[in-house]
């Protein structure tokens, strides 16, 4: 067991998404040694004769108070607010805010844009990571790369966003290099890669955080699932290296990491820091829009912000419960 460090965008997600695979995995960053434990088959009896029941109720009570209650209370309050039941301007039950939000194009555009950023980020990062791991798995399991691949994970989203801005903005490093190389005559000729309507800056920042994360995840799964042996088997059955990598290793990795991939996608959808610094005013992501509406002086915007919160919550929580609840047969005993 080792100490390891990762950025917020990555380290909490790494562990969590590994656990979402149905496994609890703890990594050694360098050795990539993995401790696996299958959640779904675990049904452990407590020792009943010892009766530490009061302790159990205390513990579960603390869990409810710190993990479940805030979410429920927050959502309940916000729902009531959005329905006009509480708040400064509450005037009794009304659906007017819900109609205003759900009937507007900006809400659906924001949701669609958030989903687009998530899908693009995940698609690019998973694709790149898969390619790197199946073509040279050992590179990320031993040697210096197995350490350095962890470094990007120690960059928090806000710093990554700042870095990407300094790279890709009109006055950024790429533009300056382009100018020095004679590729352009001024910064106005540099394409708008940040604060753009296509979210290129946001996707780049998230890609830079997600790709190393998936490389580490896939490399560890590769090791853990003993894919090297499967690939060798495929080779003896007549597969060429490319077929072995893409018809055996890649599908297994994708299947095992499916929950992690979807969860990471949900994280990107709800991301705040990178869209705040790199997004455009005309095309926003969900978190940014919600907070902006909440912080405006126009009080009518507050219930709308809460409508968005509830709608978003219903969407992602449903997805998450579905995802995490899959294949839970055998646990009901």
């Amino acid at each position: 067991m080792v100490v390891k460090s990762r950025s917020q965008a990555a380290h909490q997600r790494l562990c969590i998404s590994e656990r979402a695979l149905g496994h609890n995995v703890t990594f050694h960053p360098a050795t990539c040694d993995v401790l696996t434990f299958d959640v779904s088959t675990c049904d452990v009896q407590t020792f009943r004769a010892m009766k530490p029941h009061y302790a159990k109720y205390l513990a579960l009570g603390l869990f409810l108070a710190l993990a479940v209650l805030p979410l429920l209370a927050g959502l309940g309050y916000v729902l009531a607010y959005s329905l006009g039941l509480v708040g400064f301007r509450s005037a009794g039950l009304t659906l007017v805010h819900w109609e205003a939000v759900l009937g507007s194009t900006f809400f659906w555009r924001t949701l669609a844009f958030s989903a687009y950023v998530a899908v693009m980020t995940i698609g690019l990062a998973v694709g790149a990571a898969l390619w790197m791991v199946v073509t040279r798995p050992q590179a990320f399991l031993q040697g210096s790369l197995s350490l350095f691949i962890y470094f990007p994970l120690s960059i928090p989203a806000i710093v990554m966003a700042f870095f990407v801005f300094q790279m890709l903005s009109g006055g950024g490093l790429l533009s300056r290099i382009g100018y020095q190389l004679g590729l352009m005559e001024g910064l106005e000729q540099f394409p708008g890669l940040v604060n753009d309507t296509w979210g290129i800056g946001i996707i780049t920042a998230h890609f830079l955080m997600a790709a190393p994360f998936f490389v580490i995840l896939f490399a560890n799964l590769y090791d853990n699932e003993k894919l090297a042996a499967l690939v060798q088997l495929a080779r003896t059955l007549g597969a060429n290296p490319r077929q072995a990598a893409w018809r055996v290793a890649a599908p297994v990795l994708l299947q095992r990491a499916f929950a992690a991939i979807v969860l990471y996608g949900l994280f990107v959808m709800g991301a705040y820091e990178a869209p705040l610094l790199l997004g455009s005013q005309s095309q926003q992501m969900v978190s940014v829009l919600t907070i902006q509406k909440l912080q405006r002086f126009n009080l009518a915007d507050i219930p709308q912000a809460y409508v968005i919160s509830v709608a978003y919550a219903v969407l992602v929580l449903t997805l998450a419960v579905w995802l995490l609840g899959r294949g839970k047969r055998g646990d009901a005993r």
Partner: protein, 254 residues
């Protein structure tokens, strides 16, 4: 040879953001189209302790909040996760623990803002810490849920049949065995708190000036050198941990 070159190029790419931020933090005057800043100075770094900047104070504040969160959360989640892991409804509990994560922390903060205002915790360090508990504690529970398996239960039962009390089982077996996991959880929770921005801004209403808020403030002020400096401070602890960690791995794991 080509493979080795590719590898070093790749390592260079991975380390480039760190080098770039460090260079920028040592620069002054970066007019377009210069590729590098015109002047180099350590003045920016001295500025950390300057009175009006309060960057040093922000770093200390972030450090206090993160340490204050990491210790109690690690211990509490270690114990609580045991009861959850051994419960018949283990999976349901764990799904509940995931939800605060899937739900963006900043939107969670938006939903809870009203309660924090009423409890007069808004804009206070305590308030920010309480809010951070809501996302770090479930994380700790998920983290340790894998530690408590049948093997560990059998160990605990063995201690009992050998005559040990629950307290002795913790002190002499469970905690010593979990030492590595406890440290890992401690640092991870520390980092979640250390990197937290959205929730801290909202609950702290900008008054609890942690390092992440400073980065954002300098970025919006277009003060890229100080933003880079604050970024360096922010990135330093995880990088140091990662480096220590590597040694730890090699010295402890054969």
């Amino acid at each position: 040879m080509a493979n080795r070159l590719i590898k070093y190029f790749f390592i260079g790419l991975l380390l480039f953001p760190f080098a770039f931020l460090l260079l920028l933090s040592l620069g002054r005057g970066w007019a377009y189209p210069d590729v590098l800043p015109q002047h180099w100075t350590v003045e920016n770094w001295r500025f950390i302790w300057g009175i009006q900047a309060g960057l040093g104070r922000s770093a200390l504040l972030s450090l206090s909040i993160s340490l204050g969160i990491a210790g109690p959360v690690t211990l509490a989640s270690f114990v609580v996760s045991k009861f959850i892991a051994y419960d018949r409804h283990r999976r349901r509990w764990l799904v509940l623990a995931y939800l605060p994560y899937v739900f963006a922390p900043v939107i969670l903060a938006a939903c809870l803002q009203g309660f924090f205002l009423r409890a007069e915790l808004s804009g206070k360090v305590w308030g920010v810490m309480v809010a951070q508990l809501f996302i770090t504690f479930p994380y700790g529970v998920i983290f340790f849920s894998g530690f408590w398996n049948e093997h560990m239960l059998a160990m605990e039962q063995l201690v009992a049949t050998l005559g040990g009390t629950v307290r002795q089982a913790y002190a002499r077996v469970l905690i010593p065995i979990a030492r590595g996991a406890l440290m890992t959880c401690f640092f991870q929770v520390f980092l979640i708190s250390w990197f937290e921005y959205g929730l801290t801004t909202l609950i702290g209403v900008g008054k609890v000036q942690t390092l992440t808020l400073k980065v954002f403030q300098y970025v919006t002020e277009a003060n890229i050198f100080y933003a880079a400096l604050a970024s360096c401070l922010l990135v330093m602890p995880p990088v140091v941990l990662l480096w220590l960690n590597k040694k730890y791995v090699f010295s402890r794991v054969g």
